[in-house]
């Protein structure tokens, strides 16, 4: 019995790791004031870049690096549109998801079903994710850079008045969020599977977005939330025999709806950054 519980916990951790990695990235982007709904797309790009580079170079570590860079790179057009050009963040994010899924699906065709010579252990990613959660919490709460990041998401006018470039802060946070999504993708294609398939992210990116809200934008709470989601995900995986596959495919989205409804029911302030989703314009009447 204990073995079963332990095994379940380990599986929940493994399922929760990509959600946690991408969710931490999204927490940073959102704490700076930018909602990035492109997580799913950035994750897919990261997964493909990691697999392609790892396979052709033979080094999975180069693959991880490629995932970080590629996902950060695809977040740039989103940052440009939503921060500099002040486009609607939600629409721009959805576009990024479609772009990422489409591009990775197209470029990934030759790698479908190919084997990977040197996969990475899941444990490495799991430990990294947990360490990152602590480090990112510390940075956010106890460093000057973290304070500036949080302030940009609350009252960007104040940050501006202190002579700090709000746009630069938000760009940095969005690009960092992209790299974290890429890392989550690398976990999928280098350790968890380890292989490439179109649709490898299977909605995990959306759950990462929900995680940011469910964890009240707090990196440490994100760990617990990721465990919960991981456990639920594992459960639905177990139920594969009993439940129709169409229903299982809809599960991640159902999670999101349920979790967001539950968060909305919570009493008191949600902890959402005050300027979340609002493009910053100097001296604007709003």
């Amino acid at each position: 019995m204990d073995d079963l519980v332990l095994a379940m916990l380990v599986r929940a951790l493994a399922f929760g790791t990509p959600i946690l990695l991408a969710g931490l990235g999204e927490i940073y982007a959102e704490r700076s004031g930018v909602v990035n709904l492109g997580v799913e797309g950035m994750m897919a790009v990261g997964a493909l870049a990691a697999f392609a580079v790892a396979q052709s170079s033979g080094s999975p570590y180069l693959g991880v690096l490629a995932a970080l860079l590629a996902a950060a790179l695809v977040s740039l057009p989103f940052a440009l549109a939503s921060i500099t050009l002040r486009a609607n963040q939600y629409v721009a994010g959805l576009a990024l998801t479609m772009l990422g899924l489409g591009v990775s699906g197209l470029l990934g065709k030759p790698y479908e079903g190919a084997p990977l010579a040197h996969p990475l252990p899941e444990a490495g990613f799991i430990v990294t994710a947990l360490l990152l959660a602590v480090l990112l919490w510390f940075f956010l709460q106890h460093t000057y850079g973290g304070l500036v990041l949080r302030s940009a998401g609350e009252n960007p006018e104040t940050v501006d008045a202190m002579g700090i470039d709000v746009y630069r802060v938000r760009y940095a946070a969005v690009i960092f969020g992209g790299a974290m999504s890429g890392l989550a993708g690398a976990f999928l294609s280098l350790a968890y599977r380890p292989s490439w398939a179109d649709g490898i992210t299977s909605g995990l990116g959306w759950i990462a977005v929900a995680l940011a809200i469910f964890a009240a934008w707090h990196p440490l709470k994100a760990v617990g939330a990721a465990l919960l989601f991981g456990a639920l995900y594992h459960l639905s995986y177990r139920l594969q025999a009993a439940v129709s596959p169409e229903f299982l495919k809809a599960m991640p989205y159902l999670f999101v709806v349920v979790v967001l409804s539950l968060s909305a029911l919570r009493k008191g302030p949600s902890g959402a950054p005050e300027s979340l989703g609002i493009p910053y314009v100097r001296g604007e009447r709003r």
């Binding site: 460093t143 302030s151 202190m162 005050e274």
Partner: protein, 498 residues
């Protein structure tokens, strides 16, 4: 001629914006250890001048000298480095963060937050000036006065030798304002210079050593306090004679129009905001509701206008509940003009019609008669002197005063029996304020019941027939205006019950 020991000298400083000269050839000298008031109406150029000093805009012409040396102030950082600190009218603090975090944000940057050393310096400064606030408290818990003190501490921590206070008393109770004046005097005695920006004559006369008056961007006069004369200053400010004591002529109040009995309501945060409010306003009467911001005024207004259902208690407007279909029209002049008062993207004519769009002559069946609409709009615009006078101007382009005129024109049309006015002159210049006061008095005289909610005690005392004070969601005192005592009302506002 530059006095050798002037801290700051402005020579012929000019700033133009498209279509206006906001600051026009201003010469000014600030001496160390003086409190220098800049007096002027809204739009006189005070804020533009401050923004130039604080490096937010460069002047188009003219020179600035700091301790006799010519300087260019290109950013707030350069202003801070010189020793110019700004306490803005609306605090620039991150509400979700603690006082300490907010102050750390303005300090030289390291990797880690400088918590301990900074806390000690803050404690020293707050002790010195007799401030009391907890540096670990989140800013949203602080009162407006406390937030202002945090801004002052921030400027002092940054090493300000010239402190610019922009309309500092607009959000304070009389007691808090008096505390602020004490702090200003203390700073002066230590050689700090203070620029005190205001449009309130009394407080300028109370605190300033020298007074410079701005009108339409020009410096129109400069006097020392000893030679200052209130009526003369007012004339300089507005360019014509102003009457001060204009009280509403007493009328014999008629039937009860608004009745509140034991109202309990919660705020948006779910906290008790109104805890047993009972009030009555009769026809022909102005009831002035005074109180510090956040004492329950917003919720009370929302209950009266039918925007918020109370948890308990009775609200009747001429016998009907305000959210029922039978209630008479209530004129609501809301606190937040831009967001609640108008639809910014719609034009003036459309905004004027938000109540009456479905009635003839504006509606013909399901269609709108555009000719009638625009004829009506032009008439109202002329009557209320709204500028720009083109009925097709989007409302969001209007200045605060004109926006308020637009709202008044719409809300007062058709002589509603009840008028609820929330901070109706906040941020308006003397001209627009006079118009608002005239209109409210006029409507009161012709039989409307007026509930006037204001943080400006002078306004309440000048207009109201009765004054009630709200604190912590309860009416803590109520008095006819002829028996009202400013001290007593101040105490009530601070929560000391009758």
């Amino acid at each position: 001629m530059t006095e050798p020991d002037a801290l700051l000298t402005l020579k012929n400083v000019t700033k133009r914006f498209p279509g206006v000269v906001a600051v026009d050839g201003v010469n000014l000298e600030i001496l160390p250890g003086e409190v220098h008031a800049l007096l002027g109406e809204n739009g006189a150029g005070k804020t533009t001048l401050v923004n130039i000093l604080y490096g937010l805009y460069p002047p188009d012409a003219g020179d600035i000298y700091w301790q006799g040396r010519p300087v260019r102030i290109r950013s707030p950082q350069e202003a801070i480095r010189l020793g110019i600190g700004l306490v803005p009218q609306h605090p620039l603090l991150v509400r979700a963060h603690t006082v300490l975090e907010n102050l750390a944000l303005g300090m030289p940057r390291g990797f880690l937050l400088p918590t301990r050393g900074l806390a000690a310096r803050i404690a020293e400064l707050t002790r010195h000036y007799g401030f009391r606030f907890d540096p670990r408290a989140p800013v949203w818990q602080l009162s407006e006065g406390e937030k202002q003190r945090v801004e002052i501490v921030r400027a002092l921590l940054q090493g300000a030798r010239l402190l610019v206070l922009d309309e500092p008393t607009s959000v304070l109770t009389p007691q808090e304002a008096r505390e602020l004046f004490k702090v200003i005097r203390r700073m002066r005695s230590e050689g700090e210079a203070v620029i005190f920006i205001s449009h309130k004559l009394d407080e300028v006369l109370e605190v300033a050593d020298r007074i410079s008056v701005l009108r339409k961007g020009r410096l129109v006069g400069q006097v020392t306090r000893a030679e200052a004369d209130k009526a003369e200053l007012a004339r300089m400010m507005v360019g014509r004679q102003v009457s001060f004591e204009r009280r509403k002529p007493p009328v014999r109040p008629g039937a009860v129009v608004l009745e509140l009995k034991d109202i309990h309501a919660r705020s948006d945060r779910g906290l008790p905001a109104l805890q047993g409010v009972s009030l009555r306003v009769r026809a022909g009467e102005i009831l002035g509701l005074a109180g510090v911001a956040g004492s329950g005024q917003r919720e009370l207004i929302e209950v009266v206008t039918g925007l918020r259902r109370p948890e308990r208690g009775l609200v009747r407007v001429l016998g009907a509940a305000p959210w029922s279909g039978k209630r008479p029209r209530i004129a609501h002049i809301p606190e937040d003009r831009r967001r609640q008062g108008v639809a910014g993207g719609l034009d003036l004519a459309e905004n004027l019609l938000l109540h009456d769009y479905a009635r003839p002559p504006f509606a013909r069946g399901p269609l709108m008669d555009r000719r009638a609409v625009y004829a009506f709009a032009r008439e109202q615009i002329a009557r209320y002197r709204i500028d720009p006078p083109d009925p097709r101007t989007p409302a969001r382009l209007l200045s605060g005063g004109n926006l308020q005129k637009l709202i008044l024109a719409r809300e007062l049309h058709g002589d509603p029996p009840l008028i609820v006015a929330a901070h109706p002159t906040y941020g308006l210049d003397v001209g627009a304020t006079e118009l608002v006061h005239e209109l409210l008095i006029e409507r009161g005289r012709t039989g409307a019941a007026v509930l006037l909610v204001s943080e400006d005690l002078d306004e309440v005392l000048a207009l109201a027939d009765r004054v009630a004070v709200i604190h912590g969601g309860r009416i803590v005192g109520e008095v006819p205006v002829e028996k009202a005592d400013r001290e007593q009302i101040g105490l009530w506002m601070a929560g000391v019950e009758a």
